[in-house]
């Protein structure tokens, strides 16, 4: 999954460098709240550990072997911020010293494996292992599932990066200038190997490591367990929700920007819009300009209360957008509060049992 130079266009690499920088910046900022002098050796040694784990040749079912990434155990022991930095350092050394992964694609590799991988691993581990004791069997399962999901999420993002190349970067004759396969080929080609081998390797090493640590050194699992004090390195108290509320409010206020976009989003047409769009396309033929029977049948299956984000009783289109955003956020809040209260209840039952 280490993308070498030449597979991605410079502009894609640039965008992914910016994405990676955002991840690095927020991780460093968070870790600086802890003693920096403590963090530097910890991250460095863990980066070296991740590097060595990547060299393990793991036997997999079916007689084949695979290499793990080590991102899951880093996320479990260090938390997402520490894991992002440790993996990024390991990937940087691999690219600069061992030629594994490119220089221009280092941002992409860090974004896919270190950032997406760490966040998916941490979130899924915490979700599955929520409320479980440090030595609970559920933590082993959670680590294995988190490893499997993290590697596949990273692979999926990489596949999308590959798949958009021929669409965006080709010459006048249609020759792809970078990775040559479109999404419909890139995604299955990438995912088959990761769903069957690489994901299993990460699942095996993560589950096995957590099982070993539960017996030999369970203290290493405590930091992110949520059992005692919380976890992520650098997070000394529960995160404040104020910033999240401010961001949601800003995004809600920005929703009327959607009105500026001309036309309808590709593939989100009503039957009438589809006929218009396909008929006006240069390669239109009679088959393409007719509405498929299935679409015609199912288009009236559900009528939205706020069609096109414009409630019928509101005259102003901008206000309609804003109202729709408030309604959507409100609905999500109700669902999440209900889920939270249900989870608290079931956790209470588990601890009293």
């Amino acid at each position: 999954m280490h993308i070498p130079d030449g597979y991605l266009s410079p502009s894609t690499c640039g965008v992914l460098y910016v994405g990676a920088m955002a991840g690095w910046y927020s991780s460093i900022k968070r870790l600086k709240r802890v003693l920096l002098s403590r963090v530097i050796p910890l991250i460095s040694v863990f980066a070296a550990f991740s590097f060595v784990v990547m060299m393990f040749n793991l036997p997999l079912p079916g007689g084949t072997t695979g290499h793990a990434l080590g991102v899951t155990i880093a996320a479990i022991v260090l938390g997402p911020s520490g894991a992002i930095l440790a993996l990024s350092i390991a990937l940087g050394i691999q690219a600069l010293f061992f030629g594994d992964g490119g220089i221009t694609t280092l941002g992409a590799n860090c974004f896919n494996m270190a950032i997406v991988g760490s966040l998916v691993a941490f979130a899924s581990y915490r979700m599955i292992a929520a409320g479980a004791g440090l030595t609970s069997r559920r933590r082993v399962v959670a680590a294995a599932v988190a490893g499997y999901l993290a590697v596949n999420a990273a692979a999926l993002i990489a596949a999308v990066e590959f798949g958009i190349q021929p669409m965006l970067f080709h010459d006048a004759s249609g020759t792809p200038l970078y990775a040559p396969y479109p999404l419909r080929i890139a995604i299955p080609a990438m995912m088959i190997g990761h769903l069957t081998f690489a994901g299993l390797a990460e699942a095996a090493i993560s589950g096995g490591l957590v099982a070993y640590l539960q017996v030999a050194d369970s203290g290493l699992l405590r930091a992110t367990s949520g059992v005692a004090a919380d976890g992520d390195l650098g997070r000394s108290t529960a995160p404040s929700l104020r910033r999240l509320w401010i961001m949601i409010a800003i995004f809600m206020l920005l929703t009327p920007l959607g009105i500026l976009a001309a036309g309808t989003a590709w593939g989100e047409w009503s039957p009438a819009q589809m006929t218009q769009t396909t008929a006006s396309a240069p390669s239109a033929n009679s088959a393409a300009s007719t509405v498929p029977a299935g679409l015609q049948r199912l288009s009236n299956f559900w009528t939205a209360p706020f069609p096109a984000y414009a409630p019928a009783f509101v005259k102003s289109r901008s206000f309609g957008y804003l109202l729709s955003a408030m309604f959507g956020v409100g609905l999500l809040l109700i669902v999440s509060l209900a889920a939270r209260s249900w989870a608290a209840k079931s956790r209470g039952k588990e601890s009293s049992a």
Binding site: P4, S44, V45, M55, G99, D171, G208
Partner: protein, 269 residues
């Protein structure tokens, strides 16, 4: 089966250590790239890698590959080393990925192989991908082979990489070899105690336990390093020594790299 698993992992460790040693040896040779300031080498070779990815024409990328081969020869890097370490591996990996593009890329048919039609666009995109990856990896490998790791890190500092990142990379590199050596010894000792064939589940357990021991050791090591840093008065402020000065020869080198890169981008657009 058990031997192959333990052996293949120890062999991998051995290969990594050998490659690192070879790099340190080549970096001490007297050659073209070695004669330039490390900052010029890093900046110049990165600029050429960028030029490779920006060029859209086969002939321009091929010219950059030829240029990197000449640089390799003048820097006392043997073509055998490059072929073994870069060209064959890249050809095997990227070649397999690029091959189906010959048939799957829509375009003007130029040949048929059985029932499959090779298109002109497919040929061009596959060749461009392989050549571009070969050239970029050759340039990166040249940097690694001709520059000691400590100098690469110091040069990265000149590119405004945060000091903390440089220190972490330096520490990681140092402890990487210690951990590789420790893991190698653990696998060796497990191998010497293994009689018969281990079942795959047992092999996975061995790998996980070894990684677990390594993790505990890493954590203990990081505590030791922290204490050592504290006892030497480290307060989180990183100091990097830098006393390099660019000579006329370095400026000529840097301008040549930048000129070649810009020309390649302009001609390959």
């Amino acid at each position: 089966m058990s031997r192959s698993f333990l052996e293949s992992t120890t062999l991998g460790f051995g290969r990594a250590l050998t490659r690192a040693m070879l790099s340190e040896e080549t970096a001490r040779e007297r050659g073209l790239l070695q004669s330039l300031d490390p900052r010029v080498r890093v900046l110049g070779l990165f600029a050429l890698v960028l030029a490779v990815t920006l060029s859209h024409k086969l002939v321009v990328v091929a010219a950059l590959l030829a240029m990197s081969v000449v640089m390799a020869v003048l820097s006392r890097v043997t073509l055998f080393t490059l072929a073994k370490r870069v060209w064959l591996i890249v050809l095997g990996f990227t070649g397999v990925i690029a091959l189906p593009a010959l048939f799957l890329t829509p375009g003007r048919p130029v040949a048929a192989l059985g029932g499959l039609v090779i298109t002109s666009q497919g040929l061009h995109t596959a060749a461009l991908l392989i050549l571009r990856v070969e050239t970029a990896v050759t340039l990166t490998t040249l940097l690694v082979l001709c520059t000691p790791w400590a100098h690469v890190l110091k040069a990265l500092r000149a590119l405004r990489l945060p000091k903390e990142a440089i220190v972490m990379m330096a520490m990681t590199y140092r402890y990487l070899f210690l951990l590789v050596e420790t893991a190698n010894q653990m696998f060796e000792s497990r191998r010497s105690r293994t009689v018969g064939v281990l079942r795959p589940e047992e092999q996975r357990r061995v790998a996980a336990r070894t990684a677990g021991v390594l993790l505990s050791k890493s954590f203990a090591l990081s505590n030791d390093v922290y204490m050592a840093m504290q006892s030497r008065g480290f307060r989180g402020d990183v100091q990097v020594l830098s006393h390099w000065r660019l000579t006329m020869w370095d400026w000529v080198g840097l301008l040549s790299f930048l000129f070649a890169g810009s020309l390649a981008v302009w001609m390959g657009r």
